[in-house]
Amino acid sequence: MALETPDFQAYRGVGKPRFANQAELECAKILDYYGVPWEYEPRTFVLERDAEGNALEAFAPDFYLPEQDLFVEITVMKQSLVTRKNRKLRKLRRLHPEIRIKLFYKRDIERLAQRYHLELAS
């Protein structure tokens, strides 16, 4: 089922965001509600290239908050399955130490859901 796409007020990106899952949509709605400017997947970081310079591995964090200069990545995978994402994040931090990024795990999303009374599909 297609996710709803509200008219966001604090969205600063180009084009309508196409969220991958309900948790991303809810996070966007929370940021929007509190008036915190946000962009959706505005930048892709190449993590590894082959000998010809072609990208072998890349990472596009879900959100960028320009006023905070902060990237936010949302994952709804179980803690035991986030190893690959953690590895990507470590690689990104090694290649771009100037980047500020936070990873929100399933547990964090569940806590946000409790706090903001969200109904999130598991």
Binding site: P6, D7, Q9, K29, I30, L31, D32, Y33, Y34, G35, V36, L65, Q68, L70, V72, K102, F104, D108, R111, L112, Q114, R115, Y116, H117, L118
Partner: protein, 164 residues
């Protein structure tokens, strides 16, 4: 708990020469505000605001945060101290700080009973006084509720999640 609140009252009293205006967002901070006020040995005034929580947004009724109860006093040229129960993501506090800053206070700082920094999205907040930095858990009592209940517990208690 009261020992730490007394310490915070002493710190605040040392830092303010003019009488600060303490502003507490309802509801959870009201117990902390009441204790802090009684342990703040300098003249000060109290105010309350209430913000519409995100949980109040109905499906299809997407809108922005707003004040349900505004201040009765002006904050212009006043030394304002926001008294928070907990700073978590920083989203609510960020809105309040921005809103009050537009009203041109002489200064604006924040005292929070609890700081839970693990999911902080807004970092540049004027948090000057912190009671306790807490683990990433849920708490009840001392103003913190569980479905509007148990705010009256005299201390703060860790809420154990139900067994999976």
């Amino acid at each position: 708990m009261l020992g730490r609140v007394t310490e915070l009252g002493g710190e605040i009293a040392r830092d303010y020469e003019a009488a600060p205006l303490l502003i507490a967002p309802l509801k959870a901070s009201f117990v902390f505000l009441a204790d802090l006020s009684r342990r703040l040995p300098i003249p000060h005034e109290l105010e309350f605001v209430e913000l519409a929580g995100y949980g109040g947004v109905r499906p299809g009724g997407h809108s922005g945060i707003r004040l349900l109860k505004d201040l009765d006093l002006s904050v212009a040229d006043r030394h304002v101290l926001i008294v928070e129960d907990v700073v978590d993501t920083g989203l609510t506090l960020n809105y309040l700080v921005k809103t009050l800053t537009l009203r041109r206070p002489a200064s604006l700082s924040v005292a929070t009973l609890l700081d839970r920094p693990y999911r902080r999205l807004v970092e540049d907040l004027p948090v000057r006084y912190v009671g306790f930095t807490i683990p990433d858990e849920l708490f009840i009592g001392y103003g913190f509720d569980l479905d509007e209940q148990l705010r009256n517990l005299p201390d703060i208690y860790y809420l154990r999640p139900p067994a999976a």
